[in-house]
């Protein structure tokens, strides 16, 4: 029968068991292990929790300490040992350290351990007991927290930087930010925004009040755009005109964003605004400029493409940067895009022509001068054509040749015309040459003939002299030697023979004189006229007084002439002056000289019969007689010799006269 004490003891034992198991349960739930280390025997007795933490290979009631140290993380082991030694040496014998334990499978657990050494009466540590707490979860949470903190800090830094950048951007862009709070219907404007809209900062205007600042035509659209933004929960952007209080009508660009609460209700609108009046104006002018440019480009393109000439440009390496439609057609390429950046070779030019064009482009770049060339060209359709082209330099703002502009004209037709013209010209030239040859041949022949004729007439005249002399001589012989035997009629006939022979002799003499004057080569010399006449006149018997009177001006100039010719001229002219005169009139002849600058005009004026003007031209011709031979004997050659002689000396000859009033024969000679 159990006694009450037993019952009590059992109750206590049960209570203790309960308490112990409850303690173990608590410890187990808290993952707290307990241990006792017998330093003398070096045996460590772990409880179940400790066994769970340290998961040793063999199951035993106790283990040497080293067994536990083996599974401690190598990085932690040194400080664990140090802590143990320090605790042993300390008065309190308290031990506390955190370390990691490596479980099988590489799982790491963080442990915090606490214990106390107990000493014997000799102060020798004999055992130690303590607790182990698995703090892995806490360590993880701590690590997580640190990481979070770090990320939060980084995010905050980033946000700050972003904010700084945003602020910078806002100010740099002259952006004003604003927020409209739905609950209060107050528009909060930054200073910049207030300035943009022309209101006082912090004036707390409502949204509609703000909209009233817009140009009336823009208000509805602004309202509608904001409404749709809220509806579609997306950002909006808009440009509108603001009636600025001081600056007048301004263009403002705005970007806005609706902000919603978690339940999806709109709480605010926030956004930025910017005055874009200047930019707008610039944009407008850019738009206008580009429109003009486009129009101009189109105009040029249309104009250039309607030209039959090729218009194009190359870069410095000879790659196409523009080609008009005519050229594209020649190249058999549909659009400009098909040829842009292509080289001559890529466009199918033969190597030599491509090389030539490249050399010409290099020349234009080097000389900065336009180059003009001409080339035959075989079209893709197999037709030979001629092109004339001009490559001109295009200069950039630094004055460097940045590109080459060119125009090319199809000159095939002109070339053909030129060729035809050239061949015609050549033919003409050949004709002309032939003609010239013919002319010079005929001239030569004619001159030869004239020469022959002159030689002939000279030789005939000359050869006539001997028979004439004979005729005369025999007639004279008969008249003189046989006079007694001749009757009157015979004497008359012989006289006629002699007379005619004499006449013929005169003719021959004059013809020979004329021929000589015509063909001789002469040298002109300075002849003092006065001395010349003083010498000549006494030699002419029928000019001496009282038969005739010859007067001449004194002094007379010096002329350039040929003395024999001059004698012939004076003899003939003076002879005429005394011959052609009315019977009974004594000839009076004046010789005058007139300075005409480069030449001297010599006039021989007589008081003879005079000559009718219709005869003026004729009397200078051979046999150009005015009077029949019966009336005035002569050969009709005298004046021809005068004319020829004057001409051979480079002068002119002429006559002024009226019938019955004497004659004035004149000739000119160069001044000496």
């Amino acid at each position: 029968m159990p006694t009450s004490a037993d019952r009590e003891r059992r109750q206590l034992e049960s209570d203790l068991r309960d308490a112990s198991s409850r303690f173990q349960a608590v410890l187990g739930a808290a993952e707290i292990g307990t241990w006792t280390w017998d330093l003398i025997a070096d045996r460590v007795i772990p409880d179940d929790n400790m066994r769970h933490i340290f998961v040793l290979p063999e199951i035993a009631p106790s283990y040497p300490l080293a067994e536990f140290l083996k599974v401690i993380h190598p990085d932690d082991l040194p400080h664990v040992k140090t802590t143990i030694d320090r605790a042993l040496a300390s008065d309190s014998g308290k031990f506390e350290d955190d370390y990691r334990v490596i479980q099988p499978g590489g799982v790491i657990r963080w442990i915090t351990a606490r214990g106390t050494f107990f000493r014997d009466e000799n102060q020798r540590p004999v055992n130690m007991s303590g607790v182990l707490i698995d703090i892995t979860a806490r360590k993880q949470a701590e690590a997580e927290r640190d990481s979070l903190l770090q990320r939060e800090r980084a995010a905050r830094l980033q946000a700050d930087a972003l904010n700084a950048r945003l602020n910078f951007s806002l100010s740099a862009l002259a952006l004003g930010d604003w927020v409209w709070d739905v609950a209060t219907d107050v528009m909060t404007l930054s200073d910049r925004s207030a300035d943009i809209y022309g209101v006082a900062p912090g004036s707390g205007l409502t949204r509609e009040a703000m909209r009233a600042l817009l140009h009336p035509d823009d208000r509805d659209r602004a309202r509608e755009i904001a409404r749709r933004s809220v509806e579609t929960r997306s950002d909006y952007s808009n440009e509108y005109r603001v009636q600025h209080a001081t600056r007048g009508l301004r263009w403002v660009a705005v970007r806005g964003r609706p902000v919603f609460a978690a339940d999806g209700t709109l709480t605010s609108m926030m956004g930025v605004s910017q005055d874009i009046t200047e930019r707008h104006a610039q944009e407008q002018s850019v738009i206008e400029l580009s429109r003009q440019l486009r129009a101009q480009t189109e105009h040029f393109e249309t104009t250039l493409s309607n030209l039959n000439d090729f218009v194009y440009s190359f870069d410095r390496e000879g790659r196409v940067t523009y080609a008009n439609r005519s050229l594209l057609k020649l190249w058999n390429q549909p659009t400009l895009q098909d040829v842009l950046g292509k080289s001559f070779k890529q466009l199918g030019y033969p190597d030599d022509l491509a090389a030539r064009h490249l050399a010409e482009i290099a020349q234009v770049i080097a000389t900065r001068q336009a180059y003009t060339g001409e080339t035959p060209y075989l079209t893709p359709t197999g037709e030979w054509v001629f092109f004339q082209y001009i490559f001109s330099p295009i200069f950039d703002e630094h004055g460097e040749v940045s590109a080459i502009a060119g125009t090319t004209r199809n000159t095939t037709e002109r070339k053909q015309t030129e060729l035809a013209l050239a061949s015609a010209r050549e033919e003409l030239l050949r004709h002309a040459e032939t003609l010239e040859a013919t002319v010079s041949e005929r001239t030569a022949r004619l001159q030869e003939t004239i020469g022959e004729l002159e030689a002939f007439s000279y030789s005939v005249s000359h050869d006539m002299r001997a028979p004439l002399r004979a005729m005369q001589g025999y007639a004279d012989t008969l008249l003189e030697d046989y006079a007694p035997k001749l009757d009157a009629e015979a004497t008359r006939h012989l006289t006629r023979i002699r007379k005619n022979a004499e006449r013929l002799e005169l003719l021959v003499r004059d013809i020979l004189s004329y021929s000589r004057v015509a063909k001789e080569n002469i040298q002109l010399t300075a002849i003092p006229l006065q001395a010349f006449l003083e010498n000549l006149l006494p030699q002419l018997p029928n000019l001496q007084p009282p038969v005739a009177h010859v007067r001449y001006q004194r002094p007379l100039p010096v002329v350039l002439g040929h003395e024999a010719y001059l004698s012939q001229i004076f003899t003939n002219l003076l002879g005429n002056a005394v011959k052609f005169i009315s019977k009974g009139v004594i000839p009076v002849i004046d010789i005058l000289a007139e300075d005409q600058g480069a030449s001297i005009k010599i006039t021989i004026q007589d008081n003879g019969l005079g000559i009718a003007p219709e005869h003026f031209a004729r009397i200078f011709n051979i046999f150009g007689r005015v009077y029949p031979d019966k009336q005035f004997e002569g050969t009709g050659i005298g004046l021809s010799i005068v004319k020829k002689a004057v001409q051979r000396m480079g002068g002119e000859v002429g006559v002024e006269s009226k019938l019955g009033e004497g004659s004035r024969f004149w000739f000119t000679l160069a001044k000496a």
Binding site: A466, L468, R469, E480
Partner: protein, 151 residues
């Protein structure tokens, strides 16, 4: 007045006739020998062929020489004469119908002593021959004086 022979080189028999007449009228008695062409004149002076006998063809004191002659021209005859050492100083008077300057120049260059154009009329010829007689036959001192021969 000299009585030496005169050689007239003249192919025209009419001129020869008129010359002989004029000389006769002028009273020139010197023997007049005629050579009718250039070659004959050279042969005469050289004393060859038909002229080998100097009694028939005596060396002349004066040669009156026409220029236009058959076979050898007067110029050629003159040139030949001046090439002969014994005729270097022989008096040669050119009497020609030519009044060409070239003929005149050439004649003088070849060594003619005088150049006279044949006068166109009998009267003028007579005047000339009279002058000739006075100048060349009376006053002139010839370098060569061959032995005179009776005509």
């Amino acid at each position: 007045m000299s009585t030496h022979a005169i050689l007239l080189v003249e192919d025209n028999e009419d001129d020869v006739f008129l010359m002989k007449r004029a000389m006769r009228v002028a009273g020139i008695t010197n023997p007049l020998h005629i050579a009718e062409d250039g070659q004959a004149a050279i042969d005469y002076l050289a004393g060859t062929g038909a002229y080998a006998d100097r009694t028939q063809a005596p060396l002349p004191m004066i040669v009156v020489l026409d220029l236009k002659l058959p076979y050898k021209s007067g110029h050629e005859v003159l040139e030949w004469i001046r090439q002969q050492p014994n005729f270097e100083t022989l008096v040669v008077i050119v009497l020609t119908s030519s009044s060409e300057q070239v003929d005149l120049d050439r004649a003088y260059k070849l060594g003619a002593n005088s150049f006279v154009v044949k006068p166109p009329t009998t009267a003028l010829l007579q005047g000339l021959v009279e002058s000739f007689k006075l100048w060349w036959l009376t006053h002139n001192q010839a370098a060569i004086k061959p032995a005179p021969h009776a005509a």
